[in-house]
């Protein structure tokens, strides 16, 4: 049920992808997204897909997980597909009343949907193979130049770490409270909208109370361990780039350049 939500779900592992530096993984993910959006050609697309399949295979993350990550965005995909299908002008394939579907529309609909699917699949790999702590560490370090302009990078990263850390806890808590209220006969599954909203009260109130209690406890625990922000704080795990990072960086650069070259020189199969 609630446990099936995979946002930020991390699958521990020892693969090449897992061992990449989180900073590099973030950069690679962004580069992959850029590559997807640069592509306007079937061949370029094959390269992006190939890269995705390769990454998933060496990270040993099951391909089923892609489907799982796609589930919540199915409506968005359908919406873009339908918009493209009906509102792109071109040679009509099918015409009825005001509705017309063009060959270009079909092509674009398929292409846009695939693009969104691969986008989500690729970015999910980042969270599947990087623990939330590593991820925020990576973001903090990548953004650290912004400290020069007084941007509170550390505070933001800490907030993110804590938020991520508490997602599973709160989900678990919600599950527990839901079970407890169901055990008392709370009916969460039937009734109209108003009734359902009312049925949430017995869940939300205890949940809020426990979230505040946890926040207070955590603040106290952090202060007891003398947390006082970024200044003078050192890390137990220093991030270090390795040959893996260099290799992946070169690989993605080569792929992006190839995609650009394909766009420029191969005109067949473009969208």
């Amino acid at each position: 049920m609630l446990k099936d939500i995979t946002i930020g779900q991390y699958f521990p592992g020892e693969s090449f992808v897992h061992k990449l530096d989180p900073r590099m993984k973030i950069v690679l993910t962004i580069a992959y997204v850029v590559m997807l959006f640069l592509t306007n050609n079937v061949y370029g697309f094959i390269i992006s897909v190939g890269f995705l399949v390769l990454s998933y295979s060496i990270s040993r993350i099951s391909f089923k997980m892609i489907l799982k990550s796609l589930k919540p965005i199915v409506p968005i995909i359908l919406f873009t597909a339908i918009l493209n299908l009906f509102f792109v002008n071109g040679d009509p394939l099918f015409k009825w009343w005001v509705i017309s579907i063009s060959a270009q529309g079909v092509k674009l609909a398929v292409f846009m949907s695939l693009r969104v699917i691969f986008l989500i699949a690729g970015t999910s790999l980042l969270t599947y193979t990087t623990s939330p702590i590593e991820l925020t560490d990576g973001i903090e370090l990548l953004l650290s130049p912004l400290k020069k302009v007084k941007f509170p990078v550390h505070e933001l990263a800490m907030m993110m770490t804590i938020a991520l850390r508490f997602i599973p806890t709160l989900i678990e808590e919600t599950d527990k409270i839901m079970s407890a209220q169901k055990a008392r006969g709370a009916d969460l599954e039937s009734g109209g909208i108003v009734q359902r909203a009312k049925a949430l009260i017995p869940i939300l109130i205890p949940l809020f109370i426990s979230a505040f209690r946890r926040a207070e406890e955590l603040a106290l625990a952090m202060e007891c361990r003398c947390y006082h922000g970024d200044e003078g704080r050192t890390r137990m795990k220093q991030l270090q780039y390795s040959w893996r990072d260099a290799f992946s960086f070169i690989l993605i650069s080569v792929l992006i350049i190839t995609v650009i070259l394909i766009n420029m020189f191969i005109k067949t199969g473009s969208f």
């Binding site: 521990p12 527990k176 009916d187």
Partner: protein, 303 residues
Amino acid sequence: MRGRANEAIGGIKLPAIIRTEGLTHVYSEGTPFRKVAVGNINLEIEQGGFVGVIGHTGSGKSTLIQHFNGLLKPTSGKIFVDGVDIWENKQDMRKVRFDVGLVFQYPEYQLFEETVYKDIAFGPKNMGLSEDEVDKRVHDAVRFVGVSQDLLEKSPFELSGGQKRRVAIAGVIAMEPKVLILDEPTAGLDPKGRDKILSQIKEYHEQQQNTVLLVSHSMEDVAKFASSVLVMNNAGIYAHDSIQNVFSRVDELEKMGLSAPQITKVFYKLKQKGFPVDSDVFSVKDAKNQLQKMLSRGDSGKC
């Protein structure tokens, strides 16, 4: 009490209020976190018993009890409450939940209403009872758990930890379930509070003649209050027997990371050392009787 449990196990069958057939539950099927929480469980819980459920952390106790009122759906296997397969007709699931009341660990975290009265009335109201009946049940329930009537109009969030716990238990008792399951109802309470809550539950059990399942980490509590014990180990049932038969297997229990009540262990050791005592001692009261008997006979062996 103890005699009755023996009867149920040794021949004369009392009707089973809860029965499972090959009950199995697997968490996170198809992911690297796959875990069998309970595997192939066949058990019968007799009507009117007070069953202690013990097992170390992660042995599947909490998962098992959440199957009894249909909160968890078994991956495979069946559960019968009062002879009816609870998953056969999903519409009746709420009725099952009123028949099998489940008090979770730290139940005070589920309180949400403005007043204690309204919170306890939540369950009975969901049952669709009349105002008068709800009112009667709320008052009965607070009496059973020993919460004073003047607290009824207070906010549950103003109460002390122990009082909150009682109110939360009252919220389930007010549904007057045929089976009352309590998951570590005394966790985090002081020794006096523990004993009081458990005695009240025992009293409630004796008055209502219903079935009670008590999940506990305290062997003393189980020995003192329960009539039979269900021992869980590694997602399965290790033993389901009378207090006597289970706690006399001190060595096996220790191997599982559990133990027998302290007083039983003392007498077990005494017996091993050659003192003429029974090792079937499960409470300090039993121990006192035994010692008095031994001393009055004057045959204290080596002493």
